[in-house]
């Protein structure tokens, strides 16, 4: 990953993008990473300041 990702214009091939989106619709959902409750941890982090 790079800092340039944030500032640069990103151009993508629309067909590849659509293919990837279709692939993700058919994904093995058991491999999904379930988000953790980051907001609680964020609140705890702010209390350290």
């Amino acid at each position: 990953m790079a800092t340039s990702s944030i500032t640069d214009v990103i151009i993508v091939d629309s067909e590849k993008l659509q293919e990837a989106m279709d692939k993700l619709e058919r994904r093995d959902r058991s491999k999904d990473l379930i988000p953790v409750n980051s907001l609680e941890q964020l609140e705890a982090g702010r209390k350290l300041l």
């Binding site: 990953m1 790079a2 800092t3 340039s4 990702s5 944030i6 500032t7 640069d8 214009v9 990103i10 151009i11 993508v12 091939d13 629309s14 067909e15 590849k16 993008l17 293919e19 990837a20 989106m21 692939k23 993700l24 619709e25 994904r27 093995d28 491999k31 999904d32 990473l33 379930i34 988000p35 953790v36 409750n37 980051s38 907001l39 941890q41 964020l42 705890a44 982090g45 702010r46 350290l48 300041l49």
Partner: protein, 205 residues
């Protein structure tokens, strides 16, 4: 072991931009530490141009930066810690999240470039676990923390996908975790991959 997330925006509300570099101490040899230090301090390229850093991004609201901190320690032991008023906290990793517009490149010449030809996604600009610390599934944990932040934004404002740009060596890692490749950044050589936002509590239909 428990973890806490500290956002750079909140840190800067109470501290000067310069203090974040001095508050980070005892840098270990890990790649993550060196990059974090570089992204936070003022630096210049070989042509004398000032490099963008996390402080600039925060000030300009281009992204948000988060540190994942572990429990307070008494002794840094040469590893990367963030010194806060209440003590020293090991920095286990960091990530940045932004919103990015992706421009689609097969628009016909006679077509106007309209908003429908572009798409917006969340961007994980950086995601790094600190190599100075040994922790089993640290990378996955960092992703789950990052997804937690994104999912809360998703619930409020929408947008269903996340974009990352990663080094070729990490393509398999992300592919095995349900990321799908969409191309290669011609400027940086980084692989572009997307992930569908997963909800913490999906609706039961």
């Amino acid at each position: 072991m428990s973890y806490t997330i500290l956002d750079l925006k909140s840190y800067l509300r109470y501290n000067s931009p310069e203090s974040i570099v001095s508050d980070l101490s005892s840098f270990g040899p890990g790649k993550g530490c060196a990059e974090l230090y570089l992204f936070l301090q003022e630096s210049y390229d070989e042509n004398g141009n000032r490099n963008d850093n996390f402080i600039d991004f925060e000030r300009n609201n281009l992204c948000r930066v988060y540190f994942v901190l572990a429990d307070k320690v008494e002794n840094a032991n040469g590893k990367c810690v963030l010194n806060l008023k209440s003590g020293m906290y090991p920095v286990y990793g960091y990530f940045s999240v932004a919103v990015k517009t992706l421009y689609k490149n097969n628009i016909h010449a006679d077509q106007e470039i309209l908003p429908r030809n572009n798409t917006n996604m969340y961007l994980i600009g950086h995601l790094c676990k600190n190599a100075s610390y040994e922790w089993g599934k640290g990378g996955e944990y960092m992703l789950q923390q990052c997804f937690g932040i994104i999912e809360s934004a998703y619930q409020k404002i929408g947008m269903g996908y996340i974009l990352i740009e990663c080094e070729p060596a990490l393509v398999d890692y992300y592919s095995n975790r349900n990321f799908a490749e969409i191309g290669v950044n011609s400027k940086t050589g980084l692989y572009q991959m997307i992930y569908k936002v997963v909800e913490k509590f999906p609706d039961i239909i």
